[in-house]
């Protein structure tokens, strides 16, 4: 049953992405994208609830659950940031990423069909896992905003202003603001996750924590440089995208 919730969430996010891209191609606003993504979000909650019941803990055991939780976190931050800042197009860019992450979660070998109930829970371990994956949702969305910025920046620089995409993209300054806010939220959540990781009882996993700490230091350095010295929008966006891609290596060390 939980698998079907995740499949439904993937189909709904795909529908949101496709309808959004179609409306953008036609040069109109993608008003329905947010509705599709809300539906996908509800299906994700259904999946996480069932998995949580089965595990008796936050469902973050194994790559499939981590990826599904990451997709949920990404959707959560889109719903928190996108409509509030009138960044409706953010959904069009977010939906494909959610679909890809969830398809990866459903792949044979990644997906665990009969989750074992955990005998006991460690609050620090759960905090570490939940906060870290949640932070990745914010950082992933910052990377999505970064891609949108890079597209808009290129179009403005090259004077290619006639596409439906250009008309629908939010202003440069709004994109930068939301990207920076998301980076701050991501870094704050990751700080809690990393601290909890050091406090929890561990049997190995040192390489994972070192990698997570390196990710944290990189993002903190990016924000500090931008805050103190200043950084062009293009470099900030490129760093947000690059750091997110590199930071995914942390999952390989789980």
């Amino acid at each position: 049953m939980d698998r079907w919730f995740l499949i439904a969430a993937t189909a709904l996010a795909a529908a949101g992405g496709i309808t959004g891209m179609w409306t953008v191609h036609r040069g109109t606003r993608s008003r329905w994208t947010v509705i599709w993504i809300i539906a996908a979000f509800l299906a994700q909650i259904g999946f996480l609830y069932l998995r949580g019941q089965a595990r008796g803990a936050c469902p973050l055991m194994g790559m499939g659950e981590i990826l599904a939780f990451l997709a949920w976190s990404l959707t959560l931050f889109y719903l928190a940031v996108g409509p509030a800042y009138r960044l409706s197009l953010l959904g069009v860019f977010t939906a494909p990423l959610v679909v890809i992450i969830q398809i990866l979660a459903l792949l044979p070998g990644v997906w665990i069909s009969d989750p074992e109930r955990l005998p006991a829970t460690d609050a620090w371990r759960e905090t570490h896992a939940a906060m870290s994956v949640l932070s990745y949702g914010a950082l992933a969305l910052a990377a999505v905003a970064g891609v949108m910025f890079l597209v808009l920046d290129r179009q403005l620089k090259d004077h290619h202003l006639q596409s439906g995409l250009f008309r629908n993209l939010p202003p440069v300054r709004e994109l930068l603001k939301s990207m920076i806010r998301l980076l701050w939220i991501g870094v704050l959540l990751l700080s809690v996750g990393v601290i909890a990781g050091f406090v929890m009882q561990r049997q190995g996993g040192t390489a994972h924590l070192i990698a997570a700490s390196a990710v944290w230091v990189s993002y903190a350095a990016l924000l500090s440089i931008r805050q103190v010295r200043g950084l062009t929008g293009r470099r900030t966006a490129m760093a947000a995208v690059l750091l997110f891609v590199l930071s995914l290596s942390v999952f390989a060390l789980v």
């Binding site: 040069g27 808009l152 403005l156 620089k157 004077h159 202003l161 006639q162 250009f166 993209l169 939010p170 202003p171 440069v172 300054r173 709004e174 010295r229 200043g230 950084l231 062009t232 929008g233 293009r234 470099r235």
Partner: protein, 334 residues
């Protein structure tokens, strides 16, 4: 009951003719009521803008009344104006009104001001008791159709002037322009128009610099801004978001090193450079700086032309909507 529209506009009459028939804005209702003295006329609305004067008439013998109106106008303002008048009868008159309120008959295709002007003309006629069953229904339906045309088509899309295109780009870069700071280099007419357009959309601080300081002071006062001596403009560059340059200098005035010098102080915030001078005032190399968006007069003009072409392509669709909507109604007098 007959519906007739008698009018002249920017296409049929030059300004020296139009100005003779212009009705002051506060007197549209009184003029409409006075027209009811003409025999056979029961209702009227007078619409008068800088580009048109039109009389919408309804009555059992409105066509005869229209001929009488034209005779009186010729008597009062000169017979030479007669070839400039046009007349639309019944359904054509209703269709014409729909085109007018939709901005299809305007000098700037798709402009929105005419909608408000037509509403005001109708309101004054209504308050003066010059309208009743026919014109009330015709005007209210025309406003509804006008709204539908603007919502369902792209007739309003894109700026059709250099100043408008600059504002659209500024909004694409900065979002809301409230709090945006602008420097105008060269106090010419084009830069005045562009700066004014930015101020009308919320830009708050305007610095004006010019080789002749007096001219800079004059424009700064007009904009509610501050004049800066020409040899000091670089000192305010660090604090501005938009630079509008339009001097008569034969060589570039804004050079890459001017911007490089303030990038750190600006913390690499986006900078929008608008070069509306010929020869160009801003060195094209400035556009290669990462956070700088540079647009010259040719690019802005091209954007305005493309917007006009896009709007013209929408006319057929707009007319189709008007035809379709009118065919659904059984308007009196048509």
């Amino acid at each position: 009951m007959e519906l007739v529209c008698v009018g002249l506009n920017h296409r049929t009459a030059p300004v020296e003719v139009r100005e003779r028939f212009a009705v002051p804005q506060g007197k549209l209702g009184d003029s409409a009521r006075e027209l009811l003295q003409i025999e056979g006329l029961e209702e009227s609305v007078v619409l008068s803008t800088c580009n048109r004067t039109e009389f919408y008439l309804a009555g059992d013998h409105a066509e005869q009344a229209a001929a009488e109106l034209r005779r009186r106008l010729a008597q009062a303002h000169g017979a030479d104006s007669d070839p400039h008048w046009y007349e639309h009868h019944r359904l054509h008159a209703a269709k014409h009104l729909c085109r007018v309120v939709s901005g299809l008959d305007s000098m700037v295709l798709g402009e929105t001001e005419i909608f408000g002007q037509a509403k005001e003309a109708y309101r004054q006629a209504l308050d003066a008791g010059a309208t009743s069953g026919v014109l009330n229904r015709v005007f209210q339906r025309a406003f509804g159709i006008g709204k539908k045309v603007r919502t369902d088509t792209r007739i309003q899309e894109g700026a059709t002037s250099v100043a408008g295109a600059s504002v659209e780009l500024a909004e694409k870069i900065f979002g809301k322009l409230a709090g945006c700071r602008v420097i105008v280099i060269g106090a010419g007419e084009m830069s005045r128009q562009t700066a004014q357009a930015l101020v009308s959309r919320g830009a708050t601080t305007v610095f004006v610099t010019n080789r002749s300081y007096d001219k800079a002071v004059g424009l700064a006062e007009e904009m509610g801004g501050r004049a800066v001596h020409f040899d000091e403009w670089q000192s305010v560059l660090a604090g501005v978001d938009v630079v509008i340059s339009s001097t008569a200098a034969p060589h570039p005035v804004v050079l890459p090193h001017h911007i490089e010098a303030v990038r750190r102080i600006r913390k690499f915030r986006p900078l929008f450079l608008i070069d509306i001078a010929v020869p160009r005032d801003i060195d094209p190399a400035c556009g290669e700086i990462e956070e700088v968006y540079l647009y010259d007069i040719d690019t802005l003009e091209q954007l305005a032309i493309e917007a006009r072409i896009r709007r013209e392509k929408q006319i057929i669709e707009c007319d189709r909507i008007i035809e379709e909507e009118l065919s659904k109604l059984n308007l009196p007098g048509t």
